[in-house]
């Protein structure tokens, strides 16, 4: 008698823990005529819980040294490398050809390495000492925007997801992600990778579910600082722009697919989720006339 396979319960990832959705709901995406699984149909309440987790984790993540953040991103790549086979199988299950799946996993790992390398470098690229005319020392540095909501690419369930998450957390932000609705398997497995990769709980939170149901809740949440929308539905884009106004979220529109392109390897993706802070301090001029206060 052949062995009975143990089936997997797919969960969401909030604050470093793996709950099922509080709503108890599920959906059954299909590929190649087969149901992929009973995937959590996350609710607005799950989103709120995830934002709370992301906000709580923000303070701890931003004060980690850039070197440490860099090593943590590198560690994600290491663990992902160790589970290559599983990701390739899932991609094939979701409809990819084998060669295509292998390429996507390889690129995903490499992209993490790429952004791991930027963690302790982008600040130098985007900072400046400003030669003000008065006797002050004046400098500008990038700082993370805060909590970033990501409506992940629908067509690129692993590479697209990583291409959005990596620059977000490399820059010291924390995030709440809504994974690809029809290709969610890799996002759930990625959460398992993250939880064993030294990424503090709450830095990355991953929900699965229905984009139409959650999109406006993502865009209106008052404790989300920035929103990345991957896709090209102009009605959705207009409505999130409008909804984002209430707390002046920064809104970024990115591609729904095509993440193989190396335009997704750029420090400007990190920079787009940064605020510029400028600091002034007087310089004492011994013997000079007048005061500069």
């Amino acid at each position: 008698m052949s062995r009975i396979e143990v089936l997997k319960t797919y969960k969401i990832y909030i604050g470093g823990k793996f709950p099922r959705t509080e709503s108890g709901r599920y959906y059954q995406p299909e590929a190649n005529g087969k149901v992929l699984g009973n995937i959590c149909l996350s609710s607005r309440k799950d989103l709120r819980n995830a934002v709370v987790a992301a906000r709580s984790a923000q303070g701890g993540w931003v004060v980690k040294s850039a070197y440490n953040r860099s090593q943590i991103l590198y560690r994600i790549a290491e663990i992902l490398e160790g589970r290559r086979t599983q990701f390739i199988e899932e991609l094939i299950q979701q409809g990819s050809k084998k060669a295509q799946a292998e390429k996507e996993v390889n690129l995903s790992i490499d992209r993490l390495i790429y952004f791991a390398g930027w963690c302790d470098k982008y600040t130098q690229i985007f900072s400046s000492v400003n030669p003000v005319a008065s006797s002050h020392f004046n400098f500008s540095v990038p700082e993370p925007t805060g909590v970033v909501a990501i409506l992940a690419p629908e067509e690129s369930g692993l590479l697209g997801l990583i291409s959005q998450i990596a620059p977000t957390i490399a820059g010291g932000n924390t995030c709440v992600v809504l994974a690809s609705e029809n290709k969610p398997l890799c996002s759930v497995t990625l959460a398992e990778v993250l939880s064993t990769s030294d990424v503090p709980g709450g830095v990355i939170n991953i929900l699965t579910g229905n984009r139409k149901e959650l999109i406006l809740h993502f865009a209106t949440h008052m404790d989300v600082n920035a929103l990345i929308y991957c896709g090209d539905n102009s009605t959705e884009i207009k409505s999130i722009h409008e909804a984002a106004v209430d707390n002046l979220k920064r809104v970024m529109i990115r591609d729904g697919g095509g993440y193989v392109s190396d335009k997704y390897e750029s420090p400007y993706l990190i920079y787009s989720l940064q605020e510029t802070k400028t600091t002034w301090h007087p310089i004492e001029k011994i013997g000079a006339a007048g005061s500069v206060y």
Binding site: V132, N247, R250, T279
Partner: protein
């Protein structure tokens, strides 16, 4: 304390008025479109008054839809046929010319600015106008160096920029808008605030004198609805706005779903934090400058003062003493510290907040100074016994009103300071370097002044976090909102 000087009686200075005879103003201004002065098709004009005397200075055109259409068309034509084809170097030379002409006419600009806005001549002469010229001079030099500012990004201009400026620093905010827009290769339709149109119109004369190609800069005057027409115009590629967070949100809603790029410089409610180890006399000067500079009509004003409990009594005493010595009155007098409130409307807003502060149970203090009978005036005001939840501690007043709170620990004051939807600026006063950097790195604000306050420079990026807006003006960072990249 005994034997203190009573500034209201013992310290009378003779008047020292700046002369106004040398300025050239028309009694009626048309719109500046396509390099020419054209009558508004709307046929409407409105009066601009001197807020210190309530006397009319001139009539200014009110642009309607047809006028806005004409201005955008002129800007688009100038962009397509001339400006986008010009080399960066030549663009830069035009901008340098504008900078030089502003310098040459600096005193005239200063006087007009003070007459029209109510700000004191000392500030318009020493700060607003020189900084405006410096902005043009700084960005002129960027025009042919953009690829060095954004390596590997192939920066390109956007097209027509619609720019709407506020009444608190009329000429300076115009410079912040126009200079980077032109340097980046865009053309401009600009609307100054309705209460302070005159320096914008004077700048139009300078632009003519500089020989800038027709239509590269168009100046239309009018109220908010004129601004709305500009923002909503289909041929506008970029919207830059400085003003209230409320209006900023309306603009963002109206451009939602379009490809218009935007810069929003909005409101603030900055924390100015005094630690017990701060040089207190300097800190008190910083508090005064932080909140009473420009009548408190400053988006980055240090309107929430946090004083460490151990030095609260002495800081409050020094602050009140210093407030007694402030001169409130004629903006044209070189000795005046606090000029006129910009408009009756704004004075009403400020007075409402003062009433609210009292009703909420905070204690008010105002110095004894006299204020003129005619015109719009508000004595420098502070509130003590303020709760974090009070509206005067939460909302932007945009006037000379300071809300004082106390704190004990560093963590407490950081939490309180950051507990606001705004994030434009902050101030920190302490003699300890490590404490300065702890605070400056934890305060969520775009500009942080340590042991100084309200300093500005063309090379220094300015702009907010959170609901204080997005995008930066000034410095290399200020070019980015006027460019697109591959």
């Amino acid at each position: 304390m005994k034997n203190k000087i009573d500034y209201s009686s013992d310290w009378n200075l003779d008047p020292a008025p700046e002369s106004t005879g040398h300025i050239k103003l028309k009694t009626k201004y048309n719109l500046f479109i396509g390099g020419k002065w054209v009558k508004p098709k709307s046929g409407k004009y409105f009066a601009t008054i001197n807020p210190a005397t309530e006397h009319k200075i001139a009539d200014v055109a009110e642009a309607g839809q047809a006028d806005v259409d004409a201005a955008v068309k002129a800007a688009k034509t100038a962009y397509d046929t001339v400006w986008s084809k010009l080399s960066g170097k030549e663009r830069g030379k035009y901008i340098y010319r504008i900078a030089r002409l502003i310098q040459e006419k600096a005193r005239e600009f200063s006087v007009i600015e003070s007459l029209d806005s109510g700000k004191v001549i000392r500030e318009s002469r020493d700060i607003d106008i020189p900084l405006a010229a410096a902005h043009f001079f700084y960005y002129a030099g960027w025009a042919d160096k953009l690829e060095y500012a954004f390596p590997n990004r192939q920066p390109k201009s956007l097209g027509v920029a619609a720019q709407i400026t506020p009444w608190n620093f009329p000429m300076l905010m115009i410079a912040w808008k126009i200079a980077p827009a032109l340097a980046a290769g865009n053309t401009v339709v600009l609307k100054p605030a309705e209460t302070t149109s005159l320096t914008a119109l004077k700048l139009a004369e300078v632009i003519q004198e500089a020989g800038l190609p027709d239509g590269v800069v168009n100046i239309v005057t009018g109220y908010g609805k004129t601004g709305a027409m500009m923002v909503e115009h289909k041929d506008v590629d970029k919207v830059a706005f400085t003003g209230s967070t409320g209006v900023g949100k309306i603009i963002m809603k109206s451009i939602a779903g379009t490809n218009k790029k935007s810069t929003m410089e909005l409101g603030g409610k900055a924390a100015n934090i005094i630690f017990e180890d701060a040089p207190l006399d300097q800190a008190v000067e910083g508090i005064i400058n932080g909140i009473y500079f420009n009548q408190g009509h400053v988006c980055c004003a240090g309107s929430r003062l946090f004083v460490q409990e151990s030095v609260y009594d002495v800081v409050l005493r020094k602050l009140k003493d210093r407030m007694e010595s402030l001169y409130v009155g004629d903006p044209m007098d070189k000795n005046t510290d606090i000029g006129a409130i910009n408009s009756k409307k704004q004075l009403d807003v400020i007075n409402d907040y003062i009433k609210i502060g009292k009703a909420e149970g905070a204690d008010i203090y105002q110095p004894k100074c006299k204020i003129p009978k005619k015109g719009f005036w508000c004595k420098p005001t502070l509130f003590t016994n303020v709760a974090q939840s009070n509206r005067i501690a939460q909302e932007e007043i945009f006037g000379p009103v300071l809300a004082i709170q106390t704190f004990r620990t560093v963590d407490e004051v950081i939490t309180k300071a950051n507990n606001t939807p705004y994030g434009l600026s902050a101030g920190v006063w302490t003699d300890k370097g490590s404490k300065v950097f702890n605070l400056t790195s934890q305060l969520k604000a775009g500009v942080v002044w340590a042991n100084t306050y309200n300093k500005f420079d063309p090379t220094s990026p300015f702009g907010g976090y959170k609901e204080s807006g997005h995008g930066r003006e000034g410095g290399l960072h200020g070019l980015e909102p006027y460019l697109k990249f591959d």
